[in-house]
Amino acid sequence: MNMAGIVAGLRPYVLGLAGIAVLTAGWAVVAAAELLDGVPPPLEVFSALGEQLTGAELWRATGHTVAVTASATAIATVIGVLVGAAIGMSAMMDRLLGSTINTLRFVPPVALIPVVLLIMGFGSGSEIVVGTFAALWPVLLNVAAASREIKSRFEDMTRIQRLGPVRKLFSVYVPGTVAATITGVRVAAALALILVVAIEMLAVPAGLGHQVRFAGNALQLPTMYAYIVWTGCVGLLLNSVLQATERYLRRP
Amino acid sequence: MTVRLAPTSAGGRQTSDVAIEPTPEVAGRGSIDVSGVGYRYPGAAAERQVIDDLSFSVRPGEFVCVVGPSGCGKTTLLKLLSGLVPAESGGIHVDGVPVQGPPSNLGFVFQDHARALLPWRNAVRNVEFGLEAAGVARKDRRELARQALRRVQLPDVENLYPAQMSGGMQQRLQIARALAATPSILLMDEPFAALDALTRFALEDALLEVWRELGLTVVFVTHDLDEAVYLADRVVVLRRGPARVVRELQVELDRPRDQGRTRAEPEFVALRYELFETIRAL
């Protein structure tokens, strides 16, 4: 590769780093000049983050939040694929379930938190239920739309080819809907993470959300900001992994 | 869509009080001169020369069809003529002025009508877009847009959106948009290629009529050799890789032309045959 090519290739990274540097510098100025109450300087935040990264607490909280988010996403994926395929492939099921689904999916999932806490208490179970409720709809709707599309495009072909139901499922529907499913899963995981963190902040005494809230209540501001930054990193990592998976599965 | 063949005699045409007449200063204009033009798409993998040392010219009021094998550079040529892309070498002049960007007296009808219309505007507002861009006062736009729609025989669709129109209607709408700003040159990129035969005949005749009435200069790219002979005063044949003019065929069929009669004339058949052999030999 020639010099110009290398420079062009590096450009986004250089620009991006410059952007982050400007942002951090702005933050440092705001903190140093005390323009806003309770904003610790970045240096303190990063040293608090370093401290937490060497301790056990951050990793335990991260493990908890990630595990709960993953469970919620997994459960939502299973339910979403089954129900989505059912309403996508059968007009009868669509009529039976469609309007109920279209009602439930617009209920803000945080609204469920108080009710779920009443029924299930302050444990991981409640987190998983709320996370699953939030994560369900993107998977379900994507799978339903994709299988409806496959059905209308290939139904005649599969009849003429005399494919049996099992062959039809595995050689037409599964490959035809896998890309839409993974897109749904990516959106679902992001939503599940938001709700899991929210319920941790509000009620369940575990995970990253709890750590943010706890540090905030104790007015350990650098630690609180460290946890916010760390939660963002976890979200970014989660999103990148799923995006890479999606790209891999969608590759022609 | 109801396929309505355009009346070839003036009798059946709708007339209106304020017609779009070619303004006197525009009437004489519309010449195009291409000399020794070359072009490569920048950054394309192989940096292949798409057009090389291409020359031809179009007289004001002339109807020229450009034919050539697929991918030979016909669309690129129209983009050069309209100033959408700058020529790499050689010169392009419109009315004696070197082309540096889209000239104001030029209309363009794109190949892909579904993508060239503004989906968020209804028919009459799409036509008005051409007038807004040309700086026509707001109060005159609606009436001029309606006239343009009538001219392409689309009178009753004002409020339809492009997505609600058939391909033929969309292409009429695109022509109306290009005509509304009273250009003296019309560049058309395979405008009727995606239409069924009956619709295409109707649009060809509508176009010829507009061309005759407004005294336009038309450069019309097509794949269809019949269409080229039927419409043109002259057919320019391009060869591929890099594009160059290999042949220019004068068409001296009587006008006004008629879909049935003209296509049955021995001269039409002979020209078509000659054109076909020229292309086959490339």
Binding site: L15, V115, V212, G232 | F108
Partner: protein
């Protein structure tokens, strides 16, 4: 998921069939709670929830609370639109601005926005501005992304149309790029609306500063469980109504799909 049936009888049957599942679920809930499968203290039967809800609606603060929550969410959303659409235009048209902000944008988009609520609470203190600021912060990102993608993916042919009509760059933005991006911007706004409601509720739950969120937390802390269920039902209805409105607005801005 709407499929139309032509005849009147067919329509009636259709409506009935759609009601089968909700009716069955509510019936199950009623039976479970009155026959003691679940503890009726924690899960009150639906008829009691409905009665309590009705009393709260006619007598109490439920409607003002619902209005407060909705108002905060919508105000925050409106501010987010005003910020995100112009910013998205800038990022979509300037490679420098885009490159500088890309990693930061990705970070904030991936950050579960509720986590910044405690930080905002320290900075601005509990109150109206906390709610609105938090909503703005959460709602900005999807609209920003929608605008950037929509503007950037404007069809090349449309850009050529703008150029042969000799539009200046600024007029091309107003007349072509922005309207072409509108469907994607509207999708972003729809996603942001859901986020705005969630954040408005979370802030209320955390700060206890009025609205349905603090109402539900208070009812729970006083073990008024029937009220909890009733308020949650009202939150659901608010979400439904706002989304139905949004879908309608979104549909009215779209002309590229035949009606």
């Amino acid at each position: 998921m709407g499929r139309r049936d032509g005849s009147g009888m067919g329509h009636l049957a259709n409506v009935l069939i759609r009601l089968v599942l909700p009716a069955a679920l509510i019936g199950l809930w009623q039976v479970a709670s009155t026959s003691g499968w679940v503890n009726p203290v924690f899960v009150p039967p639906p008829d009691r929830v409905a009665r309590t809800g009705y009393e709260m609606l006619t007598g109490g603060d439920l409607i003002p609370a619902a209005a407060a929550t909705t108002g905060r969410a919508l105000l925050g959303l409106a501010i987010a639109i005003v910020i995100a659409v112009p910013a998205g235009l800038v990022f979509a048209s300037s490679r420098l601005a885009d490159g500088l902000t890309y990693p930061a944008r990705e970070f904030f988009r991936a950050l579960p926005t509720v986590t910044i609520v405690p930080a905002l609470m320290v900075i601005v203190g509990p109150g109206e501005s906390l709610s609105v600021l938090a909503v703005v912060f959460g709602a900005v990102w999807p609209i920003l992304l929608g605008t950037i993608l929509g503007v950037r993916e404007t069809d090349r042919v449309l850009l050529d149309v703008a150029r042969v009509h000799r539009l200046s760059a600024r007029r091309a933005v107003v007349k072509i790029r922005l309207p072409a991006a509108l469907p994607q911007i509207m999708t972003g706004i729809r996603i942001s609306l859901a986020i705005a409601l969630v954040i408005a509720l979370v802030v209320e739950m955390m700060s206890g500063h009025g609205g349905l969120g603090s109402m539900v937390v208070e009812a729970r802390s006083r073990f008024r469980n029937t009220e909890v269920f009733a308020i949650v039902a009202v939150i659901g209805v608010v979400g439904l109504v706002l989304n139905a409105l949004m879908v309608r607005i979104e549909r009215r801005t779209r002309h590229d799909v035949p009606a």
